[in-house]
Amino acid sequence: MTRADRTRLPAVGPLLPFRFSRIEKDRLTNRLSLWSAEHRTLPVVAFILVLPSGSAADFEGYEGLAAITADMMDEGTGNLSAIDVNAAFGRIGAHLETEVSADATVFTVTSLAKFARQALTLFADCIIRPRLAEEDFDRIRELRLTRLVQIRDMPSAIADRAFMQVVYGTHPYAHMALGTEESLRQLTIETVKTFHSRLYRAPNATLIASGDIGADEFRRIAADTFGSWPQGAPEIPDDAAIVPPPFAPVHRLVIVDKPGSAQSEIRIGEVGLARDTPDYHQLIVLNMILGGQFVSRINMKLRQEKGLTYGARTAFDFRRGRGPFVLQTSVQSDGTGEAIRSSLLEIDAIRTDRPPTAEEVEVAKAALTRGYPRNFETAEQIARAMAQLVLYGLPDDYFDSFTSRVSGVTVDGARQAASTHLHPDRLATAIVSDSSIVLPQLAAAGLGEPTPLLPRL
């Protein structure tokens, strides 16, 4: 037996080929789109219903409507109460999960294959024929108002809100899916019914299946369960994607004062790009270098070199419209000024005097492509991947072509993405911390006087 050679690291082989499961598409007579990808490794199925309306589609003054409507879907249907619905899912070991983002409302049902029909039957009843009873609505709204109260003491949630508020102003992306106390109090069960009847329509929706189920079987079950969804006229809401976001933030530096905070929660960023930007792959490579992985510049600087934080990262949140680019971290309070100054320096440097190097670009591309198949292990991962195709109008071969698209990014491409899409003069910084500790540091670091902010809750 040969002993490992410790004089150098073992070489790794070439990029291994990967193919996404074959996608089958169909449509019911009520114009509900059906997408499926067979993946028969275990007796598990995942179903996802995608509605292309999320919190950005909230009626103005009624922020929180999309999210509370989604939340009402498992609060009873027909003779079944909210408790009965959840008991019925429990009896077959199935889960229903609900997520509302700015762009979409997404319901996920995971079940054993042997219960696929039962799970989908119950799910369809919830979506098509929800009870929408006043007393249930009152309780759900009360719980959401309580959640808003609790958020006051959650520094990360406060920082997110403060940041989006100063960067997006009055744009539909400025508010969180939960809404505010004021807007939630405007809502009634009637508003929910209106939202449901206008946007929860078969022609707007796509039902996705993945796992231990074939396209024919899926079509039969879908027809028997979701076939009764009235077609109605398709109505696509005003899309936030077409509303231009503000060019500059409302303020450049804000602080939410939380006396006695154990740390400073920090967000730095600006309006970023939409999912359909032609520079998408350059930007994800750039982000890996800047703050998208452990060995990124920002994390190495703030965590590994200075020990100021447990971690720091950046992300471009690509949406149908222009989502945010944001750096987020939580640092020891006495290092707040230093952390912000270092972060701003790094963002500036990557577009000026220290642009991405050839080695950094190679590492980032390898990190994005070489481990790519692990994103497609479970039925739910595969269904979620298809939901991305649906939401952003990506081609069916997108996942097969991802690695070659990323491999095609050049050093110049990454550099240009940095100089074109990062704007130090537009960056806004939001801090949630103890003002008395942080203000002198901001002054000393030359960052100026922050505007005190109370985020809308």
Binding site: G13, P43, D74, Q304, Y310, G371, T378
Partner: protein, 434 residues
Amino acid sequence: MNIPFTQHTLENGLRVIIHEDRRLPMVAVNLWYHVGSKNEHPGRTGFAHLFEHLMFEGSQHYDKGYFHPLQEAGAALNGSTNPDRTNYWEVVPTNALDLALWMESDRMGYLLPALTMQKFETQREVVLNERRQNYENRPYGLSTSAIVAALFPSDHPYHWMTIGETADLKAATFDDVREFFRTYYHPSNASLVIAGDVDTDDALERAKQHFDEIPPGPKPAPLDLTAEITGERRLLLEDRVELPRLYLSWHSPAMFTDGDAEMDLLSDLFANGKVSRLYKGLVYERRIASEVMAFQNSRELGGFWQVLATAAPGHSLVEVHQAIDEELARLTEEGPTEDEMHRGHAQVEAQFVYRLQTLGGFGGKADQLNAYSVFVNDPGYFERDLARYAGVTQLDLHHAVRKYLRTDNRVVMSVVPRGKLSLALPDSTPAVVS
């Protein structure tokens, strides 16, 4: 249903477990060391976890950050520490298996020559910031610390949290690091799983090439400590929160021992999900609580079972406490229903299948094989694990409630907004948190 495997023990005592799954071109490498915060001592807490950080800072033959070559190879990687064990994992493309084994074996065999005071001091700062972020600056974040300190006496190793106490972290020395490594980080106290797109014989050969050369160490003696609570202890903790919350905690059976599965099933039945008794009673019907949850915290030396409820605005912990005790009394009196048992079993069966979908990472198949290897000395325990849940009868569960969840053997803690001590249950004394 199972996770097929082969197992070998190298001459130095390292267990090597191999599982073939050729669906995707990737391999999960998973390495457990049977050491956690329970192997620490009072005044020296937080060390096992701090040490986990140092394992990512480079070793003798690659003395740079651990992440760089692996991320470049397309790996996902991480590690974690709990009271009972420390685990490290990589998920790599098939052709980077040697790299992952090289890196894991280099830090097992050759960490100390590369360890410097500077790495140690920086990671200590990182850990102190992790503590601030995840515990001190998070609402209710120090509750568990206060509860375990009350449930377990000061010389019991579950008395402290894995993250450790701030003063202890600051007092940790470089010599402590060396001693800790020599005692616990060696082949005879570890278990390696290689799972995925591999051939068993070939994977074993590669494991030997990388790990055979590492000398064995003395197997640490197993700990054997018990703890009990006699009476009800009432504590209060002030925190930066808006709404008061109540935690009720009891000692419960150790991981994988009789009664552990019962307590786990009981958590869901009692307080998890809309159909659970507490949600239905306190959140849905009476609206006196805004959230409820229960957990069986299964650990090697003994578990604890916990239920928590946050008061709804305008309602008191006294009301919440009374309502929980009423539900508990009803369960103690009547036992679970047939429908509750049916749901519990259906959910467990489904969960066991769902978790077979993922190869690596926390909770994936490689991690499961190692959990069974380290805690019950049988990587093939999957089916028996499922059977111990499937075998729980209505009577068993009823018996467990009566045996473990009495009103005279628990810790009841009120967490209240700062300065609002009157919102705590009567007769509560301030909890100790550091």
